[in-house]
Amino acid sequence: MTDNIRVLVAKPGLDGHDRGAKVVAGALRDAGMEVIYTGLRQTPEMIAEAAVQEDVDVVALSILSGAHMTIFPRVMDLLRERGVDHMLLTGGGIIPKSDGDELAKLGVGKLFGPGTSTRDIIAYINEEVARRRVADEI
């Protein structure tokens, strides 16, 4: 397992509650990860900014509003703009397979539907981060 995996967990959009996001955040913490939790009502810009300053390996978004086709591409663009698109952008929500496929073409990672076991999410993150980590020359 990769050491000290850092994950940003955010809940974009104006809708609803962050119960799901909190459950995932807690599960990732229990799996030994360092989870930066930024809570509700995060704009894509806030998410990208936080991702940069926190130098996370993973950006995980919980989107229940149905706005996934606008939010994921926007966050992906902002990460790319900042040159940090090595970060894994993933998340959960009610996302039809065809939408997921389209987002994958933009570089978005696997997306998880409601009721996914957190164990699957953890395994996926571990695997992806091990693959994506870059070594810096100082």
């Binding site: 050491d3 229990d30 930066i36 810096d136």
Partner: protein, 312 residues
């Protein structure tokens, strides 16, 4: 361009990466500090400590805005505890520090304490050096919510602010935790709640009875970080303490004391590293003795191998 060149060029992404390396990459930590340390030392460092939930993040957010109004750039390190059972951490300080999220002159990094005691992580002072070398005018460090533990924050800040709340109640508790000794400024937060005045008066009595440095008696202020009341008084006291330190070589003396303690800590770390190596060497010793007995290697060559393993 290599990472540190980008850093010195003012690239925020590089700053962020450098902090990660200072945290994770023990082998290259020293080489990174070789470049950064000489460029640090110009920032004013403010430490914020206090019990869990006393409002440290909320207050830091307000203070950051105020500093920006006065034209100063700000770097923040916010530390939260690592779970001793899983090694994971939930870093929630950012949740209450979103007032300046779109200000490019504010950089906020959350760090897990990685089970280091004292309210800060081992890498926190190095991360502060990075922010300092990057050119931040003021560095604020928020500790883990401390109950009763040794307190490192006064080793890394010019001014230490201790935050208490009326319900953290008992000022005796704060004394026991050693919070009174390290406070340059005492703040009773959540003054919008009952009992704040009485509590502040109690704290003043304790300060009066205690010992303090010539020329600076820690003031006790009541504020509500949430409602933004009483905060001007705090800003004034912070500036006043800055002025106080500037006089008569006080800041230099304080930083010398901190330098000594930083060296001692680094020595402790190195020594721990050496001990781990000795333990590993013990295994090698077993393996080598067996090979010497079997005449596969002679004692001098075996000793040479051990020496190689032990040299740091």
């Amino acid at each position: 361009m290599k990472l540190l060149d980008r850093f010195l060029d003012g690239d925020r992404i590089a700053l962020s990466r450098v902090i990660t390396l200072l945290e994770n990459d023990r082998n290259r930590r020293s080489a990174i500090l070789d470049r950064l340390y000489p460029r640090s030392g110009n920032a004013r460092r403010i430490g914020i400590t206090g019990p869990p939930g006393s409002g440290k993040s909320t207050l830091t957010d307000r203070l950051t805005k105020q500093l920006r109004i006065s034209g100063r750039t700000v770097g923040i390190i916010a530390v939260d505890p690592t779970s001793p059972f899983t090694g994971g951490a939930l870093l929630g300080d950012r949740l209450r520090m979103q007032g300046s999220w779109d200000d490019p002159q504010v950089f906020l990094r959350s760090l897990a304490d990685r089970s280091h005691t004292g309210g800060l992580s081992e890498a926190t002072p190095h991360a502060m050096t990075a922010l300092d070398a990057f050119g931040k005018d003021v560095i604020i460090v928020e500790t883990v919510g401390v109950g009763q533990s040794t307190l490192d924050v006064s080793d890394v800040s010019d001014t230490t602010v201790v935050l208490l709340t009326p319900e953290s109640g008992d000022s005796i508790q704060a004394m026991k935790a050693g919070l009174m000794e390290i406070a340059d400024v005492l703040v009773v937060n959540k003054a919008d709640r009952e009992g704040a005045d009485r509590f502040a008066a109690e704290l003043r009595t304790i300060v009066d009875l205690g010992r303090w440095e010539e020329g600076w008696k820690p003031p006790v202020l009541s504020v509500s970080a949430r409602d933004n009341t009483g905060m001007d008084g705090l800003y004034e006291k912070l500036d006043a303490h800055g002025d106080y330190l500037a006089g008569e070589g006080r800041l230099r003396r304080r930083r010398m004391r901190q330098g000594r303690s930083a060296i001692e800590k680094a020595l402790g770390e190195m020594w721990r590293g050496r001990l781990t190596k000795l333990r590993d060497a013990d295994c090698t010793m077993d393996r080598l003795s067996e090979r010497v007995a079997r005449r596969e290697i002679h004692p001098l060559a075996a000793a040479g191998e051990l020496m190689d393993e032990l040299s740091v």
